[in-house]
Amino acid sequence: MSTETSTQVQKPEAPARNWRGLGWGFLVKLLLMMLVNALGVAAIMAAWNVEQWTILAVSVVFLIAADWVYFAKRTLPLKYIFPGLVFLLIFQVFTMGYTAYVATTNYGAGHNVNMQQAVDAALIQDERRVDGSPSYPLSVVKDGDTLGMAVVIDDVVQVGSEDQPLAPVDGGVADGAGRPTEVPGWEVVTVNDLLSDPELAQSVTDLRVPVSDEADDGSLRTRDGSSASIYRSSLVWDPETTTLTNTDTGVVYTPDEYGTFVGTDGSSLPVGFYVNIGFENFVKAVTDEDYAGPLLKITAWTFAFAFLTVATSFLLGLLFALIFNDDRIKGKKVLRTLFILPYAFPAFMSALLWRGMLNPEFGIINEWFFFGANINWLGDPWLAKFSILFVNLWLSYPYWFLVCTGALQSLPGETTEAAKIDGAGRWRMFRSITFPLLMVSTAPLAIASFAFNFNNFTIIYMLTNGGPRFADASVPLGHTDILISAIYQISGIAGGRADYGLASALSIVVFVVVGIVSAIAFRQTRKLEEIQ
């Protein structure tokens, strides 16, 4: 009803009466949208150039959507939600979906490109210098950021780059040794420049300049930057049968179901491509003899760590809150500030600091509290687990102290009064009144804290790196690794053998656990509220 009346009141005015000029607000919007469009078109063109069709399509969609949202009249709410929504869709929704996709592939070391890129890489890797091909005196040239090669073939100066096959240039000049010294449109890079800049030298040795448009003609490459010769791949790609054939040995390489090119003689090429392998990553996590054992232990420890760390810090925080939530204590504010110092200190620094303090030889924990004993806190599997729990207790009890203090102060006074009159003792009152009421407000936070600690990468990685390593396992995992730090090791992003597929599969497992925990949290909150 109310909406109807309001529409009746607001009768459409004549447009002329509504006209208040464009205003500088509109100008700002116009300028911003011009900028957005310029950047968007630039991104679309860049995506076109490097043939990234997905990014191109997504950019086009987002750009059109942005223009529609900000110039149409009916999209008022979207005008405010759109910017955040774009980031949310790309960096949260997409990454989650992409994780699910990668989890079903064997994306990783040796399989990190698609089929066409794998074929190209195989052809390049297999390139050998053509027997008996002449060595041409070479001048490395550049045009802006583009590197090129200039040589004299058939008495004509020819120049080419990665994308442009060799072609004669007019007005090129060569010295007596046949080395081009002047190439119109290009700047000649001197040998001294090459020698003094290792990065440049590396990109020169990586440079391949196609001899012609035909890939079979091979390409010009150099080892030293002063002479070039023609390289040709002995492999030939047949797109129809999707096979690579080695023209020297006659071996035919066919891709197998895992995206590896396997030859007729049983050998295989080092480059493969990623393929969909269904649920094999998930199966691998529980059955593979390298991974199954360590991952089971790590999962158990993840749950234990998350639960124990919440339980201990909650109890300690609650205890302190109960003791110090007392109006008769003087200087409560000062005490409270000092109590929460560990919480105010940046967490990663605390973890690193404790790493030093727990050092077996020189750490102050051993020096001060254990009479200089040589206790290897972070090197023994059980002690390391204990240390992590202890440090995390130090880090997070202040949070629970603050939360519990707040909850205690907001307890209804009448309830406690009534209990007192009924003759409840202190313990009875805590057990039957205070604690249940406290749980109503803190249980959701406890569950959120569980979910947070389930993925508390920082404390684990900073304190122990997941170590000590499992002695009986070949994979780089350790006794204090939790799932997310194990994912980090397996993914190989920080080094080591990359297995994005398995890492993503484990990420999905973590997502499922976190999802279930959050769902329970929801129901629990509702149930506890009913009690109240």
């Binding site: 949310l88 960096f91 990454t95 200190f345 690193l352 202040p398 707040g406 976190v514």
Partner: protein, 296 residues
């Protein structure tokens, strides 16, 4: 009778004192123990930052020696570059999170549109799934993005900021939504009748009224960017782009070459502003924490 009176008074006072000790007094020694427990690592790091040996050996005696060498030594490292990076990344992420979160909260709180409830529920569900778990996908995404737009690729601070902004809507909208709802809509309507546009209402009316929640969200976003390690580690490759978390980890991760002196000095410098900010604003932060995201 006259002799008994002082005795009872004395014993009454003794009883009162005993009662005071039993109920309140004992809490002071306990408080001292708690403070020792809470503060001794911080005192240690302060002492170690003034120690002249520069490593762990000999730091067990507090304030054994006093030198500012460790602090001076920081300028030989990339420490100040990392401080700058951390500030740039943290402030950008906080600024973006505040703006986008506030705009979205305004839309959800003030407009009634199709799919509003569904989007709110969707956000609520999405924000439960931590972005860090999908770091492999973030890494692969940035690899591809970098081919098209180098500024958004691996090893770009801008890319890291964008990644952080991905969580802005999910994490902050609810916190702000509740606060926006507490501002009476009659004010907007009055402004509307006076001829204000929706943009004017947002910028000139609502934003000044919700400043406290903007401060909380900004601070939380800054702290989470400041403390993030895993995303910063995989995105920022070269050392001059590192944040403090990545850089300082490198100082002490290797036991043989660990530079504890410099680490301690850097910790003191970097942590003190955060510590002060946190303690001053603790009331707001705790309020924000208990109604939304969690730090520890």
């Amino acid at each position: 009778m006259s002799t008994a009176a002082p005795v009872t008074q004395k014993s009454r006072e003794g009883a009162r004192r005993r009662r005071w000790w039993g109920e309140v007094g004992w809490k002071y020694p306990v408080a001292i123990l708690v403070i020792l427990y809470a503060a001794f690592p911080l005192v240690f790091v302060l002492s170690a930052s003034f120690d002249q040996t520069g490593n762990l050996r000999g730091t067990e005696r507090l304030f054994n020696s006093f030198t500012l060498d460790n602090y001076a030594g920081l300028s030989d490292t990339l420490f100040w570059t990392w401080v700058g990076n951390t500030l740039v990344i943290g402030f950008s992420a906080a600024f973006g999170a505040v703006l986008m979160g506030a705009a979205a909260a305004y839309a959800f709180s003030r407009f009634r549109f199709k799919g509003r409830r569904a989007s709110l529920t969707g956000l609520l569900i999405l924000q439960m799934f931590p972005q860090t778990v999908a770091f492999v996908a973030v890494f692969l995404l940035l690899l591809s993005l970098g081919e098209v737009v180098p500024a958004l690729g691996i090893n770009s601070k801008l890319a890291l900021i964008c990644v952080y902004l991905g969580t802005a809507l999910g994490a902050n909208t609810f916190l702000m939504y509740g606060f926006f709802n507490s501002i009476p809509t009659e004010m907007d309507e009055a402004a509307k009748i006076d001829g204000a546009t929706h943009a004017q209402i947002f910028w000139k009316l609502i934003m000044p009224l919700v400043t406290p929640i903007l401060a909380v969200v900004g601070l939380l976003a800054f702290i989470s960017a400041f403390g993030d390690f895993i995303l910063a580690r995989i995105v920022l490759v070269s050392s001059e782009n590192w944040t403090l978390a990545v850089g300082m980890y490198q100082w002490v991760s290797d036991q043989l070459t660990a530079r504890w002196g410099i680490f301690s000095a850097g910790t003191v410098i970097a942590a003190v502003p955060v510590l002060i900010l946190f303690l001053v604003l603790q009331r707001y932060i705790v309020g924000g924490l208990t109604s939304g995201s969690v730090k520890g």
